[in-house]
Amino acid sequence: MSRLKAGQKHTVRFSLNGKPVSGEAEPRMLLSDFLRHEIGATGTHVGCEHGVCGACTISVDGVPARSCLTLAVQVEGCDLRTVEGLAPAPDRLSVLQAAFRRHHALQCGFCTAGILMSLDTFLRGNPSPSEAQVRDLLSGHLCRCTGYTPIVNAVLEAASELASGPLGEEVSNV
């Protein structure tokens, strides 16, 4: 058993997009804030801070998680993935990201990081989803720009494209 004292900073270590990272956090620090302010990974956005909007969704040990409903100290030793880990190279988009771009599946982009991370974990387990499944998944996110339909179209196209190759590998950056 370990007991981390209130008001003191404690070292938290985990894997972020395949690389080991560490930082200092009080027990009360949210994972979303830890990623942004302590690690400097600002791709993860923070919206409602009570689990409703989905903007802060990341992948923890392969499943989607609201980083605003997770404490930094809870992910000690875990395997985290964030939107920064999606692109295969700095000048290339993943298949899913490229499909978002083609279909105008984002406008302001505030919700996009969370949606991409939900979809990334989802497509790994459901490589050929139905539209109903995609819409059910998207019910865990709020997007006020797109009306969701462009997102659904992007996901379905990305899924069929990915059926011929592993996630994040083949990309056209036009």
Binding site: M1, L4, P27, R28, G54, V63, A65, G140, H141
Partner: protein, 274 residues
Amino acid sequence: MKPAAFDYVRAETLDEALGVLAAEGGDARVIAGGQSFMAMLNMRLARPKVLVDIMRISSLDAITEEKGEIVVGAGVRQAKLLAWDKLSAKIPLVALALPWTGHVQTRSRGTICGSVAHADPSAEMPLSLIALGGSVHLRSAKKRRRVLASDYITGMMSTARSDDEMIEAVSFPVDAGNGYAFREIARRHGDFAIVACAAIARKDGVRLAVGGVADKPEIRDLPLLNGSALDDALNAFAYELDARDDVHATARYRRELVRRIGRSVIEEALTCRG
């Protein structure tokens, strides 16, 4: 919205967690998946001095069948129970209700027991547990006890749990071979229900369970009724639930949902029963 300061205890065994609860009493709170309680912390509706994380206690992460009951440990996430291959065969009502609980992104973290512990009047798991006559297994450093879910939840987000106790598991009686239906209305799929209804159709009658109206899920056992007799029974139940107006819906609208969804789930459950 950030939580107030607390000590964080990462318990590795049940005894460690119970020891902290015994020592700290009401100053300590258990956190499991955190999908309800973290929001309470962020909004400072809860301000414990000590937070006891039980998710690294491996013994709690088990779904077992014992003496005609499905026992779901406090560490079992909702996604795990939903993916359990025997769920539809053993407790089909839960298989129908669980997809309505939150979203993929919250079921991946939230636990079944945590939802029961939180005791939100509109939540699906307390409703299902009460509808099936299930129990809550409470444990403290000194003793363990079992409480019927209908007795465990005493009101809106209030329960019969003592400060030094935690939920070790909940148990759903195996209930298959009858007719089952579940439906709810919310502004967005996965949000808290304005009204949620579950129906179990047996040979000699129908049980209707309603959440989101009274301050806890309520059940009503009805004989097999048709036509206006069923309407009258549903109307009487709707009024007895003592609905109130709030920001989400009016009392009048809630009663209408009880009448309409109540009737539709009863009819669906009877059809499924065949």
